[in-house]
Structures are given as structure tokens and as C-alpha cells.
Amino acid sequence: MTLRNGCFSWFNPWFIGIALGCFILAAPVGLVFVSVFFPQTEIWQHLYSTVLSDYIVNSIVLAFGVGVLVIVIGTVLAWCIARYEFTGRKQLQWLILLPMAMPAYIIAYTYTGLLDFAGPIQTLLRETFHWQYGDYYFPNIRSLPGAIMMLSLVLYPYVYMLARTAFSEQPSSLEEVSRSLGVSSSKHLFKVVLPLARPAILMGAALAMMEAFADYGTVQYFGVSTFTTGIFRTWFGLGNGIAAAQLAAMLTSFVVLLLILEYLSRRKIRYYFQGQRAQHVNRQKLTGSKAFWVPFVCMVPVIFGFILPVLQLLNWASITYSKQLTSEFWWLLWNSLYLAAIAAFTAVILALLFAYGKRLNHTKPIQFMTAVVTLGYAVPGTVIAIGAVIALSWLDIKINTLTENWLDLSVGLVFSGSLFALILVYSSRFLAVAMHNIDTGLARIKPSMDDAARSLGHKPLQILRNVHVPLMKTSVLSALLLVFVDVLKELPATLILRPFNFNTLAVRTFELASDERLMDAALPALAIVSVGILPVILLTMLMDKPSRHNLQLN
């Protein structure tokens, strides 16, 4: 299928499709950077003398605070699960992943309700110790440290998943070597186990830090000024789209810097375990007091990151459901579901285009373009949204000028004012999620299988139907599911780009919570969390039986 004749062999339908897709998906972020060439001196002087240092310092402290905390939580959990055998280990394996289902803005407002002056915790303290207002100090959750805690509680699974795989992939013979050489187990931990897992741990932390940079809901709700809240404020408060885009460009540069650091730390990982078989790790059976406190320690993040907030949400929802469960709620649910479904299909189709294009035409320009589009996951939703608004409103103005001149009619905001804008931003941001799954699936179909099928007399379309579709089915389904849930939870881009009078569960939850109607927000929040559990179940299933995939690979 590969055309190799002639010097323009790389110029074919695949190339054109991929170039077009890449241009459309990357245009918003590209425009954000172009904005740098239109200096907004006045507004920057104002920002510089007032809030800019807050934006920078708070964003960096938030990201690194989250980074450190998720490394601690995730690594400890991964170590316990990968290396110890204890009662409840099997259940904990998936319980630990549950906080992933919880968007940060939802956990943030739930804890605000829990820890408020009138909330159950403080009320209980006052009643037990007969305190009055002002008698005691209680930490304010609506602060930068509070935001770090909230984000870490829901983002630690990134580190946990990667570190767990890293720990269990280390062959047990490494530990046996250390033992036979008379090396103590603590030295083995610090000299071998942790250095080997370091790239995986840092990669997980980098993913969590990107989410922290991108977070809008939590910091906005807590009143912490960061880049993302600054972008909103500059645009909607000061009314300067270009300055907002410039702030967005600055934020993206921070993320790019983080990406580079992460890449540098990971450079060596691909050499590790080359030619070494992954072996079954013998987990140490815990006895005595350890058998009690290890499961206990593992439960702590689950309790605070999932069980407690869900109980609070259930409690609120049970009070308010009768007046909330109206046609408005069903509309919200329907809007969210079909929007997420369209976005998931679009992203997966694009991912298939890129993945197959890369496989069939492994040329430099195509490789480069696929690499560019998969960087979308690192760019905050706010940034892509700003870029999309600029690009699409320009396009709409041109179209309207054109139609008014030629046909004497105004078609309205066909791109920037419709769901198209949202779908574009979602595809751009979540394409990497879909690509990752599709690529994994495609890697299982070795090129020799295509050759084998063809030599056995199958035509390309038959190969697609008889070899690729059955082998790719699970990958495509999990890609669909993951993008679907990510879109359902997405907040900042949806806030910026949703068409007039169009609301989703995430937006409504945030609006209600911002209006201090915490109880009313519980029902849509619960709906989001319940859908969010689906990928957790999927991940658990995939983590439980990696051996089958390995068998197919080998």
C-alpha cells in the first residue's frame, strides 16, 4: 500500500488528509502564539503593575505543589499495591483509581461545603468543645494550599498508575542480585528500585502538573488568581482578546517548558529493560501490624478523594432532588451526552486517520504532523478555546461579508457561535487520548500480519475487516469512552465556547456552585461523577489482564 516510486511519493491522499487535519486542529493554538506580535502595551503595563506576578507565582506554586504531593501519594500507593500482598488488595487496586472520576472543581466545592463555618465538620467541633465563632483557628480551604490539596486528591492516580507498572515490571531477579551480593533492602530501594521507576513517576507528575496549570474551576471557585483565571478576566473583564491570548501564550510556554523537562528526564527510559523479560513479581505477604496499617494507608486517599465527597454530594442531592429533577436537568443531561458523543466520534475518526496515515506512510512530514496534534493534551483548554474564538470569529466575519456582498444575506456566526467551535476544541485537546489507545491497538497488528494476510490472498479491504477490525475493536471502544468522559467533565473551554442558551452538566454545576447554591449543584455533579466512573472500570479491566496483550505482542 505504500507508494515509493518517484520523488513525490509522500504526496498522496493520506498526506493531504493529515495535513488538513493537522492545520485545523493546530490553528487555534498557533493563533494564540501569533498574538504575541500585536503588542498591547497599555494593558500589559497595567497587568504588570497589578496582577501578573500573582498569576505567575500562583500558577507555578500550584503546579509544583500538586507535583510534589501526587508523587508522594502516588508512589507510596503504587509501592504498596505492587509489592505487598494483603487482604483487600484486589479491591483497593480499583478503589484507588476512583478519585479520577471526580473533576477537581466538584471536589473543591464539596469540601468548601464540608469545611465551611456552617458545614458539618466545624459544627461538630463547636458542639463537642462548646466553642463559639472566633474561639478557634480553622484552616481556610479556599486558598492556594487548599487548591493544591484538592487537585492532588484527584490527580494522584496519574502517578499511581505509571509507578505501579514501573514497580511491577522490574524483574524480581534484580532484587535477588542485590540480596545475593549482600546489599541491604533499603539500599536496593534507593539505588535500584526508585531510580528505575523515576522516569515513570516524573511522567505521572508532569501529567498532573499540566492538569494543574490548566485548571480553571478550582482556582476560580477558591478565588486564587492564576493564569487561567487571568485569561478569563482579561478577556471578559478588560475586554481585550489579544492580551488574553498573549497571557495564554505565556501559560502555554510554561507547559512546554514542563514538557521539555519531562522529556529530558525520560530520555533514557526506552533503553531500560531492553531484551529483558518482564517477570512475575513475588509480592511480599504482610503479617502482624503491617497487615493492618498498609491497607489503612491505601484507603486514606480514597476516602478523602472519593468516598467522603460522594457521600456529601449524595446527602445534598437527597435533599434537593425533588426540585432539581426537572425537565431542565434532563435537558442538561441530554446536551452533555450528545455533545460528548459527537466529540468522541470526531476525535476517534481523526485519531484513526492520523494513526493509519502514520502507519502506511512513515515519512518525516507525517510523523512531525502527528507529533504536533498529539501535543494538544498539554495545552490548557482555556488556551485552545481563546485561539478557536479568534480564528472562528475572523472566519465568520469574512463569510458574512462575502455572503452579504454577493447574496445580500447574513448567515450569522456559523462557526464561532455553533457547536462546531466546541467540537473543534475538544478534538484538538483530547485527540492525544484517542491516539494513545488507537496506537496501542495498531501496534498489536504487526505489519507482517498484513503481509501474511495478503500473501494468503486477502484484499486490503478484507484485511481491514478480518484482521484489523477484530483486533482494534477494544482500542477504538476505549478511545471513544475516554474522550467521551473527558469532554463531559471539561469546563473552561465549554464555558467560553458554548452557544448562546446551551448548557451542559459541567457548566451548570459550576454556575450553581459559584452562586453558592452548593446543594442544588449536587445532582448534576453526581451525574458527572457517575459517568466518570466508567473509564475507571475500563482501566481496572485493562490493568488486570495485561498478560493477554503481551502474549499477542510476543
Partner: protein
């Protein structure tokens, strides 16, 4: 140096090693040879201390290290292991890997020992390379150097050549033996390949189904196997059945042969005797004819499979010089040239 007394190893109450007894002297290279699943690796891991033993005792330097209720931790045994996959630490350089077990020495001493070992294993100048940049054979030598660095009392090697190309194996086996002998290391290795065992070991133990069947040198294994399993597992050959006649002679498809009167067989006994390919001589003058049913050209020789012209048409192997080129179906003359008879009672049991 190492001595095992009636050692049994069990996994989930199923014995994988049963009643193994042997001794390995200082500086000797021993080898456990057997098909996969025979328990040889479990026995090696028990010696290293990674597995506890169910019965018996293991002594190192006359000190008890393993018994059913007595288990010395592997880190205290001074037993080093070269693993099948080498288990090099991928994030450490060659020098750091080799020095990993030298934690009680000064850095100058460590440096000296690392340099010395790299020279010994033929990799001088490789100190700062990483394992992934080495070939399989080089990785093996680094793993060997790491294991020998702290001068262990005993070196264990688990299938040391299995991850290497066939052409490399012979060469490396010779080199490895030279290195071990140079360092006067006592070593015990495990393999399923008899050629490796012959090339490396002073003493070889053949194992099957968890039992040690024979513990002796290569020559004795080949020429005086203790039972039918050892005889078939070591070297090529076929068993021909025969009966003992009234003169206490063997009556077989290849003729009548005397056996030692001390063998204990009596008239009428059904027996089998071992015929190796080099025991059958191709001789055009001979009156005993056999039909060529299969042949494989091996350069200087051709290995023929021959069907004897006898009632039950038994088959034998014959190694003939390759200019004696006979097509399939030919009848060729052969004669038996047995230096000594290897005879077992024919009870159908291979072990």
C-alpha cells in the same frame, strides 16, 4: 565447599526436587543437566537461598545454611548468582554494576577490583558504558564480573548461555571456564544443553523429575550411564532389545554378544542394550545388511538411520564417513563395534 544431603524442595506441597545428595569440592565447576521442568533451577535457587527447602540439609564451607527449619538469608551466604537474563541494573554503568556488591570497600579498592575484573572478562575500557549498549555476550561477561567481584565462596550460573546465539556459545563456554579456573572459583551451573555441560563442567549431575540420577564426570556419563534416562539424555543412541540365552550371552538383532557374568542377568531375562551411532561401523564387506531409511549430511560424516533386516525391524543410527554416500532404500553392510556393553533390564521404565 558445597554439600547437599537429601535435599527436597516443594512448591505448594508438591515436591519439585527430591532427595538430592551431592558434593562439590573447592575450585570445582559442577553442572546440573536435565530437561526443562526437572527441578534443576529450583535446586539452584535453594542453594542461593531464594527458596526454602522442605527436607535435608545444605552446607556451605561445612556450615549449615539450609534445613527444613533453618534458613540463612541469601545476603548472608556469600553465594553469587549469574541470572539467565543477567539482571544487570539498566540505569547503572558497567563499572557501577560490577561495584554494586563491593559496598564495604574503599573507592580505591573498588576501582582496582573493577579494572581487574574488566580485564579478566575481556572488556577493558567499557567502564562507563550502559548495559543496553552491550551485546548479549558482553552483558553476560559483565554479569559474571559483578557476581565475582566480591570473591564469593560459590558462584551459581542459571542457564548462562541460553540468551546467546548458538555460534557464540561454544566460544564463551571455553572463555567462561578459563575465567572461573583463573579465579579459582567454585561454581555450580544449570543447563539443559549437554554440550555446554561437557564444555564447562568438572562434574555433571543429570536430573529428571526432581531426582538427581547420576553425579559424575562427562566421560563416565557418556560411557557408563547409570540408567536408561541418562543413557538417552546424554549423547545419541538407541536401545535394542535382546534376551539372555543359556550361555549368559545377549541374543539380539545384531547378533550374539557376551556380557559380564557379574551383571546379574540370568537366562531368559529380557534386556535392552545401548547402541551409539559410533558403535555401528559401515563396512561393505559385512554380511549384516540394513536399509537406509533416513540420512542427514553433516559435512565430514553422514548420520544414517538404518532399519535392521530382522523380525521386528528395529532401527539404529550409524555415523559413516561422508564419501560413503548411499541413497534412501539402499541396503548397506554394517558391523557392531562395541567396546563395552551397556545393558539394562527391559522393564519399559525410562527413569
Amino acid at each position: 565447599m558445597l554439600s547437599l544431603n537429601n535435599v527436597s524442595v516443594a512448591y505448594q506441597k508438591r515436591d519439585v526436587v527430591q532427595d538430592v545428595t551431592f558434593e562439590l569440592g573447592v575450585g570445582q565447576i559442577g553442572c546440573l543437566l536435565g530437561p526443562s521442568g526437572c527441578g534443576k533451577t529450583s535446586l539452584l535457587r535453594a542453594v542461593a537461598g531464594f527458596e526454602k527447602i522442605a527436607k535435608g540439609q545444605i552446607y556451605l564451607r561445612k556450615k549449615l545454611v539450609s534445613a527444613s527449619h533453618n534458613h540463612l538469608q541469601p545476603e548472608k551466604r556469600r553465594v553469587a548468582v549469574v541470572f539467565q537474563d543477567y539482571a544487570l541494573f539498566p540505569h547503572l554503568t558497567v563499572a557501577q554494576n560490577i561495584a554494586f556488591g563491593l559496598h564495604q570497600q574503599s573507592s580505591a579498592q573498588r576501582l582496582q577490583r573493577v579494572t581487574e575484573l574488566l580485564l579478566l572478562v575481556g572488556l577493558p575500557g567499557y567502564e562507563s558504558r550502559y548495559p543496553h549498549a552491550l551485546s548479549g555476550g558482553q552483558q553476560q561477561r559483565v554479569a559474571l564480573a559483578r557476581a565475582m567481584a566480591a570473591k564469593p565462596d560459590l558462584l551459581l550460573l542459571d542457564e548462562p548461555f541460553s540468551s546467546l546465539d548458538a555460534e557464540l556459545r561454544d566460544e564463551l563456554a571455553k572463555e567462561l571456564r578459563a575465567i572461573l579456573k583463573h579465579e579459582k572459583t567454585t561454581a555450580l551451573m544449570v543447563t539443559h544443553d549437554q554440550h555446554e555441560a561437557f564444555a564447562m563442567a568438572d562434574v555433571i549431575g543429570v536430573m529428571n523429575k526432581g531426582r538427581l540420577l547420576q553425579w559424575t564426570d562427562a566421560y563416565t556419563l557418556y560411557h557408563r550411564p547409570a540408567n536408561r534416562f541418562v543413557a538417552t539424555f546424554v549423547g545419541d543412541g538407541v536401545f535394542l532389545s535382546a534376551t539372555v540365552d543359556n550361555n549368559i550371552k545377549l541374543n539380539s538383532a545384531l547378533g550374539v554378544f557376551p556380557i559380564k557374568t557379574t551383571s546379574g542377568f540370568k537366562q531368559g531375562d529380557k534386556v535392552v542394550f545401548l547402541v551409539r551411532p559410533d558403535d555401528i561401523i559401515h563396512d561393505d564387506e559385512s554380511e549384516t545388511l540394513a536399509k537406509v531409511v533416513d540420512r542427514s549430511f553433516q559435512g565430514s560424516h553422514i548420520l544414517y538411520q538404518l532399519e535392521l533386516q530382522h523380525v521386528d525391524q528395529p532401527r539404529v543410527l550409524c555415523l559413516a564417513l561422508s564419501h560413503h554416500d548411499h541413497p534412501l532404500g539402499d541396503l548397506i553392510g554394517i558391523r557392531l563395534d562395541l567396546e563395552h556393553m551397556i545393558v539394562f533390564a527391559d522393564n519399559g521404565d525410562l527413569v
